[in-house]
Symmetry: C2
Subunit: 534 residues, 2 copies
């Protein structure tokens, strides 16, 4: 069953190998875990639901305490601390599980007529507070489209698939694969996040180099709003005025509930492989990665770890004997301390893969990259969705883990990356605490790339003190990002946590444009209030 207070299925867990524990101990010291509250304890303390009864929607809505707890929070570190401490604050007053568009329309009428607030739950994987209820004195209904999880239509000729918006990643891919197709959208949250949530939050997947971000995959669909149904037709491309799709993408539930997504799919590729190359230095590695993107080498994914992430990954992998051997070989070929690991994927027809691999190897070798073939690439592919489970393991050892991500232009990548890492690394110095910080670049464009930074710190003696540690790191780094030409989010969205920084990025008139849309579709701010903007 899905963990009520953490990531994924509770039958699956990861353990940190001894070498990894020793590594973290050396970096930030051994730690003492905080005490976890139980689900039962939380459920016993819930306020009574304020939802009015209405026979038109009664059979869709579950007001049971456990359901309300399980839909109260997302997956941010704040959410994590709330769920583990039991200090959760506001709960939804009930959770609706509509099974059709007309169910959703009935819910919207119910919300409108009874002066309620509504939260679109998606897959509940938000790491920016999108789905967290905020108490504004009105009853709150959270809506999960978990029952709307089917492939409704597949147009093979136009390569368009229609899905219920609540379809989670594995069901998207399984239903398509049965017909020989793939969407190719693989965010790290793939196991739990939904196709509607990807659209609402402008998600990006690990293989966006081939398949595109969700902006490129979202062809049209249906959105149920308080003003009626918005059907966006599927047109391959158009110059007929501003693109309505683009107003829904990133709307984070403020305009309406996305109920159906028509997505651009691809035939399953003939071949797919992932390769790993080590570079002697960050400068060489980053230059090679930039060239791969700017030269339009047909890769399907690309990820570049900086030296500390490379070191951390090798340490946390376990297998000290094998890793030692690898490091010896790399050392002989010039990649020693400060080496950086690049992983890239090649996907397509056999001849396309052959050509792309050849071109990619050429670029890498120009920059002194040491090619190691597919062996570590296979490992990456096996573990591509498991990183969140590691957070679980670290938590039980007394470590808190969070990530921050942004994107910026190439001319600013090093500047911003260093500022982010320095700020996190030194952020707890006044408490004599170290933070272990490492970064990779994971989405590449001609213009720039994303920067994805992970930081690990020891929990404090109490939950409030631990939260304060996090809050300080998060606030100062978020401010730093938007003041240094980064976006407040490349792939996680705005939610409530990033909302204070959005005006700095979009400017007064940019915010005016977004507000014009939310005000027009939801004048009373009933839908996901406080998410995206006030």
């Amino acid at each position: 069953m899905r963990r009520w207070n953490g990531w994924g299925d509770d039958q699956f867990s990861l353990e940190l190998p001894e070498e990894g524990q020793a590594f973290l101990g050396r970096r930030i010291g051994r730690a003492t875990p905080l005490q976890d509250v139980t689900l039962k304890q939380v459920c016993s303390g819930l306020p009574v639901s304020r939802l009015p009864s209405d026979p038109a929607v009664a059979d869709q809505i579950d007001t049971g305490n456990e359901t309300r707890v399980r839909h109260a929070r997302g997956q941010s570190l704040v959410d994590w601390l709330a769920l583990h401490s039991g200090d959760i604050g506001t709960f939804p007053d009930g959770v609706a599980f509509p099974a059709s568009n007309s169910d959703v329309r009935a819910l919207l009428r119910y919300v409108h007529d009874n002066d309620l607030h509504l939260i679109a739950y998606g897959g509940g994987t938000s790491v920016a507070g999108h789905i967290n209820p905020v108490d504004q004195g009105k009853p709150i209904l959270t809506v999960s489209l978990a029952k709307m999880n089917r492939l409704l239509d597949l147009d093979r000729e136009s390569q368009l698939a229609t899905f219920g918006a609540g379809t989670p990643g594995p069901l998207v891919e399984a239903q398509l694969r049965a017909h020989g197709y793939t969407l190719g959208h693989f965010p790290q949250s793939f196991e739990l996040s939904t196709i509607g949530g990807w659209v609402a939050s402008r998600s990006s997947g690990q293989q966006s180099l081939r398949y595109g971000r969700i902006e490129q995959l979202f062809a049209g669909g249906r959105i149920e709003t308080l003003q009626g149904t918005l059907d966006i037709p599927t047109i391959p491309a158009s110059s007929a005025g501003p693109d309505i799709r683009e107003m829904i993408l990133g709307s984070e539930g403020r305009l309406g509930l996305i109920t159906e997504v028509q997505a651009r799919v691809s035939r399953l590729p003939e071949q797919e492989n992932f390769y790993v190359v080590f570079f002697p230095s960050w400068d060489l590695a980053r230059t090679a990665a930039r060239q791969l993107a700017q030269d339009r080498i047909q890769l399907s994914m690309l990820r570049l770890s900086n030296a500390i992430e490379t070191e951390t990954q090798l340490a946390l992998a376990g297998h000290p004997g094998l890793i030692g051997m690898l490091e010896k070989i790399l050392s002989l070929r010039g990649a020693r301390d400060g080496k950086c690991m690049m992983t890239f994927g090649v996907t397509g027809s056999i001849s396309q893969c052959r050509a792309a691999l050849k071109e990619a190897r050429q670029v890498c070798s120009t920059h002194q990259g040491v090619y190691t073939g597919t062996r570590l690439g296979v490992k990456w592919a096996e573990k591509r969705f498991t990183m969140p489970y590691l957070r679980e393991a670290l938590w039980h050892m007394g470590y808190a883990v969070d990530t921050l991500e942004t994107a910026t232009n190439w001319d600013n990548v090093d500047n911003l990356l260093n500022k982010i890492e320095d700020n996190l690394r030194n952020g707890l110095a006044s408490q004599n605490e170290n933070t272990h910080v490492f970064t990779h670049l994971s989405h590449f464009y001609g213009q720039g790339c994303s920067i994805y930074t992970t930081y690990v710190f020891r929990v404090a003696d109490s939950y409030p003190e631990t939260l304060a540690r996090w809050q300080h790191l998060k606030d100062t780094t978020s401010e730093l990002i938007v003041r240094n030409r980064g976006t407040i989010s490349h792939q996680h969205g705005v939610g409530k946590d990033h909302a204070p920084y959005l005006p700095l990025e979009k400017g007064e008139l940019g915010m005016r444009a977004i507000r014009a849309l939310t005000t027009s579709f939801d004048p009373d701010s009933r839908l996901n209030p406080k998410t995206l903007l006030d």
Copy 2:
């Protein structure tokens, strides 16, 4: 000098070879041209300018009659008929030529304070009535950014170029080429249209398969609005809420004046070639083209002419001896009557080009394509921007030429294409007039493609009767397009001519979203009123 009543420079003209004349004569009969009005005649009949004088903007504004006439109309067939007949209707009361952002801001204040209307002229190449003044009882100021035509900045590392929005195609490319870069945006209007106009109208260029549509090239920039300056930062990609860039793209001057465009540029490619392949039938040709797109073969351009366009192009090319020889060779290899011509471009590094050409030839040969190498491709590249000049030649022979374009999903391409062609071909039957109609597909996506149809008909005995012929063809076909899952425009925009059909495409709530933006930025509808929407 630029033609005041037609396309391009008046020192350059094309002649239709004798074989072409004979071909059209057989298809729709010989024709008698209508009498053209002169520039002098038009200038002598202009109403006096209603613009109030204001020293703050006086030196930017030209109220001379010739300047007003030269900025009164675009390049649609209606515009053509107006300018050749002299029945032009409303003129701008003056034309402003700002040289800086502060000039533009001064103009906007002037417009606001004096209750004026403002039209953004772009390059004046609209074929949908974008820039045509509409008399609503208010003085009309047309604004040309022709003086804002410089490359302002080039960031080589991030491959971003900043241009004054009035920079026309040739100056975009020349200024970039001097540094070894290209934008790669080549609409047929390239010689005259501007980078700001491309953004405002969501333009697409002939090599969009490599470089993308203007949506992909527009990274950010500056828009002067009646509410202040909107600066859109350049971020490679973001999930921070709806994308403001996408609200400006296709806004057609309704939100403000785009004054600076930051565009994603590429290094000049090592190699570029264009190739021609003939297919025995439309079915084979269309299937091959679809496969090229869906298999992600790295082409830079792709164009597929249907059988009538292929026949027309070969007839109009002249050189009957050479063409005869070509047709004999094609016939021997299976491409006879009903054959369809595909032109594709391959651009990139030498190794990328080699791989892509090999893959493309393989796909074509699977579908019985007869590869003819680069010879006809070179011809295509030479003439890629000259088609509008042919309209000039045909006009003087008594033929009116217009084009209609849309895009739709693959499953609907044949249905829509046939409906469009049939409607145009039979549209003048009640007058016993034939229309010569032919089509190519010119922009390809996994999901579908654009459909670009040209139609030629004889002018009637008078201008009003000729206009009535056109109006009937245009209205019925536009209606047909939006009622059959086509977009009202894939690359020409909405303007005033397509505005009546936009609500059918976008739906009531789609229009509500667009109107929320225009109302918020321009509550009194001063900017390009009647363009895009009422």
